[in-house]
């Protein structure tokens, strides 16, 4: 409803441009246990989504996806690229394709 966060839809490529990012601690409600728990997430600021200006966050809790994106935080590389992220599958079997090309 508020649409403050970018959401991935399985099988649908999402093109994003990030301005900055950091690893943060978040508290979420565990959907299986129904209780709160703390986890670490890679939080990225998005200023373009599918080519359109926006001001959203992209929160990554998947280790697989975080390992693909986090190295771009070093050396100010993150804003240099447009990333196209495609999620396949759901739950623990999720995989991701991460495509990086110079931002145009």
């Amino acid at each position: 409803m508020l649409d403050n966060y970018v959401r991935l839809v399985p099988g649908v490529p999402k093109r994003l441009h990030f301005t900055q990012g950091q690893v943060v601690e978040k508290e979420i409600t565990d959907p299986a246990l129904g209780r709160g728990k703390r986890l670490r997430a890679l939080e990225l600021a998005v200023d373009r989504e599918d080519g359109l200006p926006t001001s959203k966050s992209f929160s990554v809790v998947s280790e697989k996806l975080a390992q693909s994106l986090a190295p771009y935080l070093d050396g100010g590389r993150l804003p240099i690229y447009d990333f196209t992220i495609t999620q396949y599958g759901s739950g623990y079997t999720r995989t991701y394709t991460v495509e990086a090309r110079p931002a145009g």
């Binding site: 649908v12 697989k64 390992q67 693909s68 994106l69 190295p71 995989t95 990086a100 090309r101």
Partner: protein, 168 residues
Amino acid sequence: MTQQRERRLAGEYAATRLGQALVVIQGCPLGPIPQAIAESMPLAIARRVSRPWRPEADIVAVFGDGIEVIECKIFKLIDGAAKLPLYASLVGQTPELQTHLPRPVRMRLVCPWVSIAVQQFADGASIIVEHFAPAWIESYVESMHNYWTREYRQARAERQRRLAELGL
């Protein structure tokens, strides 16, 4: 978050060593979409449905003068080297790469070290072997080498005993 060491190696290699590439794709599916799937649904859905049956390269990087298929390995170097000729043969049939063809295909094995056997195989198969060892690799490899030593087994048993005492 669980540990994804080779994914981390691939991510760091992509971010730090492929700055000249036109496109860098981590986790790139390769090969054609199975015909039965391709004929029964639109292409976008067929790509999604067929994903579990298609091999996946750690990285595919498109350069002006070629396409590189890259495998990043820490321990299983033979697996990485053996996969590359197959992966390279699939590039021409990969729908996701069609806009970048035709280009010569190169193969690259990225690893913190290499054995003589793997290097000889790579030389014969025209695979480029590149040494890439971020700082964290050394402590990880050391911990894996020590994993089954008496000291590590005892420390692990003690840690598990304490966790059990705490009901965790």
